[in-house]
Symmetry: C2
Subunit: 129 residues, 2 copies
DNA sequence: TTGCGTGCAAAGGTTTTGCATGGCA
DNA sequence: TGCCATGCAAAACCTTTGCACGCAA
C-alpha cells in the first residue's frame, strides 16, 4: 500500500499540527479548507487515515454526534498516556515510567494491549480543583 | 422536571442492570425489546436520558458509528478503572490494586484527580488480538 | 504510465423529531 | 385531569461510497 503526499493531505495535517493544543471536528476542518477547494469527503478520508495510523486522537463530544480530533504532537507522545481535564479540557502528559509500568502490568494481568493514542485518563487538574 | 416510571423504562434499565458486565448498542436493546412492542425511538430516548443522568457509560466503537452503553454499577465500578476494547467494544475491569496505585501516583506526581467513571483505557483485548 | 487520491453527488446508516395517542401520578 | 412518554414515520444528520478524472511517483 503506497501513500501519496498530496496538497490536501499536507494542508490538513498542517492545520492539525499548528494547533495541536486544540481539537477540531471534521466540519471545522472542511470549512477552513473549503476556500482552497478541499472537499468534505477528502477531510473525512484523511482524518480517518490519520486516526487509524495513530497520528490523531479522537474524542466523542457530549451532546453531539460528532467526534473531535487532535494532533498527537511529538514522537514521544505515543510512549506515554495523557490526562485530560474534564473541566478545562487541557491535556497533560503522564510520565513515561508511570505509563510504561501501567501498560506492562495490564499486558500481563489482563492480556490487554493499551493503545496510548486512543486513551485519555479523565479527571480534574490541579488548577481546576 | 418529573419522571414517570413506565414499563418501557423499567425493562430497558432491567436489561442493562442484569448484564452490567457487558455493553449494549441501542440497536441490540431495541431488538431484544421489539417483541415486547418497545420501539427504537423509546430506546434512544431512554438511553440518552440514562446517559445524561450518569447512570450508563458510553463508548465509541471503532470501525462503527455506534456507541455502546453499559450500566454503571456504583458500588463496584467506581472503585477501579476499566479497559475498553476498540475492536469489539467489550469492557474489562482493572484490578483494584493496580487502579488505586495508578491513581495515587498520578495524584502525587501531577496533582491530577482521576475520575474513574469517566475514564476508559482503550486498546485491544486478548481475543481481538 | 500506473494506481492512488480527489471532488461531486448520491447512498447509507444512525439518531432525532413532530404529531397523535396512550398512560402515569 | 394534566403532563409526560410512546410509537410511527419522516426528517435530519453525519459519514461513506461509486465513479470519472487528475495527479504523484
Amino acid at each position: 500500500m503506497s501513500s501519496y503526499v498530496t496538497e490536501q493531505r499536507k494542508r490538513i495535517l498542517e492545520i492539525l499540527k499548528n494547533s495541536s493544543e486544540r481539537l477540531f471536528t471534521v466540519e471545522e476542518l472542511a470549512e477552513m479548507l473549503s476556500c482552497e477547494g478541499i472537499s468534505l469527503s477528502t477531510v473525512y478520508r484523511t482524518i480517518n487515515r490519520l486516526y487509524s495510523k495513530g497520528l490523531v486522537r479522537r474524542t466523542a463530544i457530549d451532546g453531539s454526534r460528532k467526534f473531535a480530533y487532535q494532533y498527537i504532537d511529538d514522537e514521544h507522545c505515543t510512549e506515554h498516556l495523557h490526562l485530560s481535564c474534564t473541566q478545562c479540557g487541557k491535556i497533560f502528559h503522564l510520565e513515561n515510567d508511570i505509563s510504561s509500568n501501567l501498560i506492562k502490568q495490564i499486558q500481563q494481568k489482563n492480556n490487554f494491549l493499551i493503545d496510548n493514542s486512543k486513551t485519555l485518563l479523565r479527571g480534574i487538574c490541579d488548577r481546576c480543583k
